[in-house]
Amino acid sequence: MLLIRCPYCEEDRSELEFRSVGEAHIVRPDNIAEISDEAFAEYFFLRDNPKGLIYERWRHIHGCGRFFNAVRHTVSDKFVMTYKAGEPKPDLPAATPVAQPLAQEGAAK
């Protein structure tokens, strides 16, 4: 069960309070009525599905009710950061430290 930091509640809370709502930073076209079939399929159906950092939306549905954005590594499931809706997409290096295993080595020689 994930532990998710809500940028509005400024606290880590249990995944049970949240709902995952898909890719972030997909903007509904203002002229949506005019866009092409291809553009519509792109907007409505095509989603990033990376093995690595994903920019995604969550809603703190059983908490403050806010939608917000998160950057998470889809293999380790570790969150790099969360930020409020409307804030710009952070420009992160593809491989960012938090997404990597902790730099801690065990007993094995």
Binding site: E15, D37, A41, N49, D77
Partner: protein
């Protein structure tokens, strides 16, 4: 290839089974193949088998990054059924079920297809309307699916609680008697052995790192962790990795990969004779030949390749199981695990040509992949060999998301795979 039979086993028994040869060979890759299949799961190995057997294309390699059947083939709850709603779905899943019925004999490998019946529980009027719609559609398509009263359901599956005091009392069930289960590993191994016997190369521990295209944009081969391997055609069937592999050829497919969990109980003497699914309370259960209760849990809703999942998903499934089968509350969970399901927007698969000539994709099977294995493999082989879809595969194009001609089993049926 040494034929498997009771006699062969008896003969070997007398000499310590020293005589068995490797079930499949692990050759060095050739410079070039007519067809390369990316992904050594049931679908990929099966496609290679049918390419060789039915289309005479034997210069084929199946390239697997890990070990054969190590993806969803070896991680699922092995439910087989074909009682879907839409013509396209009925076509492909029934095609598959017919192949399942003879697969052990076809491959000379016991895949333990066990048509013990798949029963879907109806808990309310809406369930009943949906299931009746399926039953009628299935009958007119030639697929068996029948309505049972709660008493008949109880008779078919004695552990079931049909008391009116249940939170969601049963008002009936839909039963496909030809549905059932099979032994997942055997499917991958059986296809690998039979394909290998016809000259197909099965190459494990070889990761595809790129798809090379010629000046005309056509596929000419794949880059791998063991170097470049040429191919005139490439079929991608690597559930859990399809997005990345297709992106190597600049093809975007509408997929999201989600964790799907399952668990088994400690083994017990036979107590559960069939497969039961309940969509209203989200539970899928059967009992393996070893005696373990095999229970399918739900998916986490976020994209993840972690092959794990939240404990809350497991407990949510188990409370439904214990609600339906109160005698199992003292039974113990022995092992839980996770797989990666590739889901499309309409929850139906994509088996299609792509904008890249010579590149074909088979993906998006969600939770329906195992039951479709032989059918999907057979149709995928046809698509690759003929560069045109088989009639049963024609609807599952990439294009449907542009036109809106979806095959929305989820929306229409509210029944999970």
């Amino acid at each position: 290839m040494r034929k498997y039979s009771v006699f062969a086993v008896a003969r070997e028994a007398l000499r310590g089974h020293k005589g068995w040869e490797a079930q499949w060979t692990s050759p060095e890759p050739r410079k070039e193949y007519d067809v390369i299949i990316v992904g050594g799961g049931g679908h990929g190995l099966g496609a290679a088998y049918y390419l060789a057997k039915e289309h005479g294309i034997t210069n084929v390699a199946v390239i697997e990054k890990g070990w054969l059947g190590g993806g969803n083939t070896g991680r699922n709850t092995t439910i087989i059924r074909s009682n879907y709603l839409y013509d396209e779905s009925m076509g492909i899943y029934e095609h598959s079920l017919k192949l399942w019925e003879n697969l052990s004999q076809e491959l000379n490998y016991n895949v333990m297809y066990s048509p013990r019946g798949v029963m879907m529980l109806s808990h309310n009027v809406h369930d009943q309307q949906v299931f009746k719609r399926h039953i009628h559609a299935n009958r007119l398509h030639g697929i068996d699916n029948e309505w049972l009263t709660p008493e008949q359901a109880k008779e078919f599956c004695p552990p079931l609680d049909i008391s009116a005091s249940a939170r969601y009392p049963l008002n009936g069930a839909a039963l496909q008697r030809r549905g059932g289960t099979a032994r997942h590993d055997a499917v991958a191994w059986g296809y690998a052995r039979a394909a290998s016997d016809m000259g197909v190369h099965v190459i494990q521990n070889c990761e595809v790192t790129g798809i090379r295209r010629g000046p005309d944009g056509r596929v000419i081969g794949v880059e791998t962790s063991r170097g470049f391997i040429g191919a005139r055609k490439v079929g991608v069937s690597a559930s859990g990795h399809n997005t990345q592999i297709m992106e190597m050829a600049d093809v975007r497919v509408p997929l999201t990969s989600n964790p799907l969990q399952a668990l088994v109980s400690e083994p017990m003497k036979p107590i559960f004779p069939c497969v039961v699914m309940s969509n209203t309370v989200h539970a899928y259960i059967s009992q393996s030949d070893k005696g373990e209760l095999v229970i399918g849990a739900g998916t986490d809703q976020f994209v993840s390749y972690s092959q794990t999942g939240g404990l809350q998903i497991i407990t949510h499934t188990l409370d439904a199981i214990c609600e339906l089968f109160p005698i199992f509350r003292r039974v113990k969970m022995m092992r839980q695990w996770g797989g990666i399901t590739d889901n499309t927007p309409d929850r139906s698969p994509i088996q299609s040509k792509t904008p890249v000539p010579g590149l074909y994709v088979n993906c998006g099977w969600g939770t329906g992949g195992f039951k479709a294995t032989p059918g999907s493999a057979h149709l995928f082989a046809h698509l690759i060999a003929r560069d045109a879809p088989h009639q049963h595969g024609a609807g599952f194009t990439l294009d449907r998301f542009r036109t809106g001609r979806l095959i929305d089993e989820a929306a229409a049926a509210a029944v999970a795979h």
